[in-house]
């Protein structure tokens, strides 16, 4: 018989081993699924996970995809640490793109060097604004932020859809539901010639470092951790939970908004109905895969970015549906959560002997 036995102390080794184990199991199950679909599992896995990054352009694309994931996941992981479950990063990303992109469209013939910084500010404000709504509902009316932030995502994407189908549609665009292309002054400079790696990628690295300092070295990061781990202790020493709800939702929203702006001002270059292949949701997996730690998030972001690239390649060369990407992401999250049980419990084989703790 197989049993789970509680550990006396959380296993630090398992905290870091669990994502590795989850990735291995995802590969095994993925291989099995490919073989059921009549593909050679080794070929398919190679196509999915190795082929996309066996050249320098592929690696640069990996950074492009990882950029929004990492930026968003850093913000989300702060919230998750404090038990604030912001599920609506996708919506905050969209609002950031609308606010910042809106400015670029308003000054569509601008050549000012101030346009781009102003777009950054507005993008962050847009995301923070969309994060502020669940924060207000939670702190004033005790409404669950999981539901409100998720539902607001659909409001935001529909709002974007309305804008690009209607008022912000490119008058010279042959009726396609797209905005005007942003002026050059409103586009992120590419920082490595011949690739799409843009200024946002450099910003993502800064966010990782700043996130690490905030979480591990600052008093506010300490408060976040205490609120999450022991709410009663936080209350006892006067760390206010409401303030943490506001802080994490505003921060997470602002970072998501910036990530959204980087997408439209970077690889896309205009507003269109779909500006993100679910980065805001995938970032949730990135945050957990990275153990809610900024440095871990960096690695998690690269791994999840690979699933996007692999999914695209699998569509082209193997003729597999796009859903394969989501499938892999889902399997990975599933195994990750399952493996996390092992940080608190150990697996024992044999008959149950001890149910209680020593007296």
């Amino acid at each position: 018989m197989v049993r789970l036995e509680p550990r006396r102390q959380h296993s630090q080794a398992m905290v870091y081993l669990s994502p590795v184990l989850a990735i291995l199991m995802t590969l095994i199950v993925g291989g099995i699924i490919f073989s059921f679909m009549g593909k050679n599992p080794f070929d398919a896995l190679y196509t999915f996970f190795i082929l996309p990054i066996n050249n320098s352009y592929g690696i640069s694309e990996l950074f492009v995809k990882a950029t929004p994931l990492v930026i968003i996941a850093i913000g989300l992981s702060m919230g998750f640490r404090a038990n604030v479950w912001n599920i609506g990063a996708e919506g905050q990303l969209t609002m950031g793109a609308i606010f910042g992109g809106g400015l670029a469209l308003y000054f569509y013939d601008s050549e000012s060097m101030f346009l781009l910084p102003a777009m950054f500010v507005l993008g962050a404000i847009g995301g923070a604004f969309w994060g502020a709504i669940p924060a207000l509902l939670r702190t004033r009316f005790n409404a669950n932020e999981i539901l409100t932030s998720l539902m607001l995502t659909y409001v935001a994407t529909l709002f974007l859809s309305f804008l690009v189908h209607g008022p912000w549609r490119n008058p010279e665009g042959f009726n396609f539901p797209e905005s005007r292309p942003f002026p050059d002054a409103g586009l992120l400079p590419v920082i490595y010639d011949g690739t799409r790696v843009h200024l946002g990628t450099a910003f993502a690295v800064l966010v990782v470092i700043a996130g690490w300092i905030l979480l591990s070295k600052s008093v506010i990061g300490f408060q976040l951790r205490v609120v999450g781990k022991a709410p009663q202790a936080a209350r006892h020493v006067g760390f206010r939970q409401k303030r943490m709800v506001w802080f994490t939702l505003l921060l997470g929203g602002a970072l998501s908004g910036l990530a959204g702006l980087f997408e439209v001002a970077g690889p896309i270059g205009q507003l269109q109905p779909a500006i993100s292949p679910g980065y805001g949701f995938t970032a949730i997996i990135v945050a957990f895969l990275g153990r809610l730690h900024p440095l871990g998030v960096l690695f998690g972001g690269l791994i999840m970015a690979l699933t996007y690239l692999g999914g695209e390649l699998a569509q082209i060369t193997l003729g597999l549906p796009n859903a394969v990407t989501g499938l892999f992401q889902g399997i990975l999250l599933f195994f990750l959560l399952a493996c996390d049980v092992l940080t608190k419990y150990r697996v024992r084989f044999g008959t149950p002997a001890a149910k209680g703790e020593a007296a």
Binding site: R8, S218, I220, F222, A230, A233, H236, V237, G356, A358
Partner: protein, 527 residues
Amino acid sequence: MTGGSKPAQLEVRGVTKAFPGCLANDDISFRIEPGEIHALLGENGAGKSTLVKIIYGVLQADLGELLWEGKPVTIHSPHDAREMGVGLVFQHFSLFETMTVLENIALAMNDVRDMAALRQQVIEVEKTYGLPLDPDRHVYTLSVGERQRIEIVRCLLQNPKLLILDEPTSVLTPQEVEKLFETLRRLADEGCAILYISHKLHEVKALCQKATVLRGGKVVGGCDPREETAKSMAEMMIGQKLTAPDRSGTRKFGDVRLDISDLSLISDEQFGTDLKGIGLKVRGGEIMGVAGVAGNGQNELFQALAGETEIIVAPDCIKIDGNPVAHFGPRRRRRLGAAFVPEERNGHGAVPDMNLAENGFLTAFRRMALSARGLIREVPTRTFADKIIKTFDVRTTGASAEAGSLSGGNLQKFIVGREILQDPGVLVISQPTWGVDAGAASAIHQALLDLAAKGTAVLVISQDLDEIFAICDQVVVMAEGKMSAPRAMADVSVEEIGLLMGGLHDLDGDVTLKTKELIEGDRVGQA
């Protein structure tokens, strides 16, 4: 005592039980005769609860055997144990607050076909053993002592031959304890064996005829408690000489440092206790004890004092060194020199998954200047934790150990030390030695006395009267959210405090009387 010709009700032979990293029971042997009240003594962690779980079938022994009336038995589950005739009254009750006494009893029985018959049985048992209890009252209206009676009635309905009580008096007033003892003596007279688990030695001395002492999972001795002193048994339990707290220093009281006046508060919890017009002054150098049975407003009082509950409308009802603070949160009160130690260590006084350095930072970062420009100052933070560990003899691997890995006594020493090293002007501490081993408890008591000697006003909220008598200068009693007038420790007796603790239970008196009449009426009817 008995020669061994007559079989014991229960004999435990060489029982051994190991958990990962700890031998909880090591070759334990003892016997309980029918009609004997047998004490199982030992500190927290001595292995008492493990042994009880083995006897009650919750755990299985690795080695050794149990003999029931002379025959070897294997007890697979609590169900088996009950079948055999073992009854267990838990330390914490498992009752449904919103259901009646009778419904709660019915829920615990294996099969109840006829509620009317059960009711008759319950009344019968209550009558026989002097356990007045109205079967139709809702549990949430009952005092803790009355709730315990439900548990006992539950057990007695199954006609046990061995009744086990695990720390039954920790929640009772002295008067309630006396009532419980009468019931237990009557049961023993009828031949029921009783295994009484406690670390309260004067109770064991008053009740039990035999005692088995456990330390570190082993039997370290047996005795007749009636022939021992509490001190000699305590030394057997902890395996070393006990030193009484030293309060030799001359006590001088200064100005009032903590001033509570007309503090009233509606509890926001469903079964919480409202505070009604609490007033109390604690002077510098003075240790004020707040006695009372748990659940009479002590938690609400602590939260109001610590700033977990803010009283915006009446800032004046709590003053620290003359400053009105009732409208402040915990951090501003701490800045004025107050410090607080809550009852619960894990998750309230400390964060179990954080290390000791971080837990030191938790309450001390302002006063000890452990942060600068919004960042944690790593070196002073570690130094502060190391200093607590060293000054208060906290047994741990170091400042990087997770708080949750420390034993209760060591973590409590750390938490108390963290507050004392901040040199507070006012210290409010709730249940300072709850679930703490005797060595740590005496260290904490000494630390509190030393702190008061330096001029701090100390308020100790405790259910443990021995503790209050050991360290306090004055005592007040809380009952149903009200507070009695302070009395000097020198001219108050345990009985008086006990009466105050139960004093406001008069409200229940009517119902209790009614039950008595019911029972007596029944008796007349039968005659």
